[in-house]
Symmetry: C2
Subunit: 436 residues, 2 copies
């Protein structure tokens, strides 16, 4: 089950020769087309990359960070003229400004290939009817999977997220064979299917292609049992163009990179040094094919390890283990990136409230919930219920507007939240706690 067998099983020597050629091309392209990279590469003495002799020379190239994306918002990292750009995607950034990705026609084509590989490796064929329950829009997940699955020739149902009853109705009525969703939404849906009480024989579901947030083995097992399906996982992010960077093969023992399009490394996130094979550290990725927005050594902040060992599935491309946390305080809630700074930006300047707040994450019915506990400035205020209700609603609406997420706002009495010496502990992540 391969989408592009020749490439996916290419001997490593050939693959690495291809990577080296594309790395040199990419460095020259960045040097010539993106002033930001021109300056960085010049300062680092790498120049247009013509002196790069081996893949490990990538270590002399400076890193690109989330901050570089922010500082170059929106189009400072573009390498192609806007006339050649056919799509713009975006995800939440660390501040109010989103992280932007731009695509040429060829970028969309390569992206669709990468996604198609992941989907075919997960068992999708042109006879499948796939319901995409990612939220459609600026988010790369939904349209990324959509184009990849249409490329395979599968039937795509652009269900988007939410509306559980309708999702389940379509499962049954449309003979849906595959689900694309975040692991947490898939788990939630699988519980809803169980509760709805129809026998599994009323469903034709046989596989799930999950992604955009980490999926634990326990979640996977639960989803598979509830729906009677086979689940595979995949990995990607807006900065690298979206999903399709890596994905499970039938062995499910590490996700294969699309190494002809991405060059991965693992570094010590403190020193920036490259680690030996198998070492656990921060994933760094260089894009090898992107025209619209090539990225050199992007620090993903995801902690993982890489193996180049041959895989029984026949694929020769390197595998990454499931991510084991992040180096920053970004939260992924229902597949949406959320930074505490975004929440703070909403609260600042609101009337009646003090400077103290706490972010509480829970998993209720297998679904992420986000609660913001905000302290009132004055004890007597709780009396003024109606005004407060209005306040609560206003905070809720503005949070939703900024985050693109539903958040419950709870008002609590002054001085009831814990105070901290030094850095405040604002995040209480209870998602892996047993449910009450």
């Amino acid at each position: 089950m391969f989408f592009q067998k020749e490439i996916e099983t290419m001997p490593r020597k050939e693959l690495e020769a291809l990577q080296l050629a594309k790395l040199k091309e990419t460095v020259a392209y960045c040097y010539n087309k993106v002033p930001f990279y021109h300056q960085k590469l010049t300062e680092a003495g790498v120049g247009d990359g013509s002196r790069i002799r081996q893949l490990s020379d990538v270590q002399y190239i400076p890193f690109t960070t989330k901050e570089d994306f922010r500082n170059n918002y929106p189009f400072g990292l573009n390498a192609a003229p806007m006339k050649d750009i056919v799509r713009i995607h975006a995800s939440s950034g660390t501040t109010g400004k989103p992280t932007v990705g731009v695509y040429t026609k060829k970028d969309i084509d390569v992206w669709s290939d990468c996604v198609a590989r992941v989907a075919v490796a997960g068992g999708v064929t042109d006879e499948d009817i796939i319901q995409i329950s990612f939220g459609y829009g600026l988010f790369t997940g939904a349209l990324g999977l959509h184009f990849g699955l249409e490329k395979i020739g599968a039937t795509v149902i652009p269900a988007s997220s939410g509306n559980t009853e309708k999702q389940m109705m379509m499962f049954r009525d449309f003979g849906v064979t595959g689900l694309v969703a975040t692991p947490s939404y898939a788990l939630y849906l699988s519980e809803a299917v169980k509760e709805a009480g129809y026998p599994l024989s009323d469903y034709s579901l046989r596989l799930g292609i999950l992604g955009s947030e980490p999926c634990t083995p326990e979640m996977r097992a639960q989803i598979e049992a509830n729906l009677g399906i086979y689940v595979s996982d995949n990995y990607g992010m807006t900065e690298l163009g979206g999903p399709g960077v890596s994905g499970d093969c039938p062995e499910r023992d590490g996700m294969h990179f699309a190494e002809d399009h991405f060059l991965p490394e693992i570094i010590d996130s403190a020193t920036g040094e490259r680690l030996r094979e198998g070492g656990k550290g921060e994933l760094v990725v260089t894009t090898l094919s992107r025209q619209g927005m090539p990225v050199l050594r992007y620090r993903t902040k995801d902690i993982t390890s890489i193996t180049y060992e041959p895989c029984p599935c026949g694929r020769t491309h390197a595998r990454m283990s499931k991510t084991a946390g992040r180096t920053d305080d970004m939260m992924i809630i229902k597949g949406v990136n959320v930074f505490p700074t975004q929440i703070e930006s909403v609260l600042v300047g609101m009337p009646y409230i003090g400077p103290h707040y706490q972010i509480v994450l829970r998993r209720v019915n297998f679904r992420d919930t986000l609660e913001i506990r905000v302290e009132l400035a004055d004890a007597e205020l709780l009396e003024r219920y109606q005004e407060l209700q209005e306040l609560q609603r206003s905070m809720h609406d503005r949070l939703k507007s900024v985050l693109g997420l539903e958040a419950k706002v709870t008002l609590v009495q002054p001085k009831t939240l814990e105070r901290f010496q030094g850095k405040a502990k604002r995040i209480l992540d209870l998602r892996n706690e047993p449910q009450a």
Copy 2:
């Protein structure tokens, strides 16, 4: 400004010869591939259509109605095997079941052509940066425009709907030149842009391609003035494959059908008789190119008229005037089809409430709002506020789940809503009332 000039300006004689050939093909295709049509065509004596001699013979073909879609839910009207279907779209039906449309690869291609014609006629070029603020997902509007605009080579921003602040931020930051939205959302956004206070010179907006609900000349003028843009209108519906059925040319004196793909007629909705050119009645459309779901003489329930007069723009395809209401009680709210039966299906069986309710539509800040006034069964109940709050929330959530729309639920005292002899007047449409 044509996307397919040769077809769009084809002499009528040739066009009608093409339509006749395609009509005969379509009838034979339906007769051979769809048992529902086989039976209907046999009963009507039309058979496989081989005796059709002229376009007006279409009158001997039986109508297809919304009820036929419902009775054949989900795939009874499919003419192509599921293996050839690459996409499924859906919109709200009259009951809990959606109206389904299925597409082959060629259907998507033809659809994209039709949308591209509308967009190019509205002024879009490959240099435009277009923000699509339709809700992405099962709704045909967003993905229909998306594929059509990518075909032109424009830069597409899949913004989806909602999150006004972010919409405006993207307008400014991304140099957006065109907006795709419903007229009511465009009007709302245009007011928000005015209020935000940035000078129009901070924006690069120059055009709007609006659709999926009727746009009055007053709305259009207001949107154009607020944003300093040129607005064109277009028409379509899920049953006919989505947007692209007809659209404004630069004359904006009627929307040109894509007559090589659609055969339009106007009938007296009471008698079913065809009207003479220019007569006002119900629009009936036969698809001439669809493979996945061909439709014979679909009764759209939209009231309009058609002219075949030559248009100064050079297009030879017939034009329809703006729709002047509908023959049923379907409401279009923010581009979403809503039937009173859907609302009733949510209310039935809820505790505490009586059988009386009223649907109130308003336009607040140029945005459609939907309020459901529900009468309580018992006067003392209003005391039990918290329980009622829970009830209200539950109704709201279930309505949102069924309609895909935010609806405010108001509880009012028993016996305060008007009673009716005969058919109850449940809809109070105040959208065209002056705002308080």
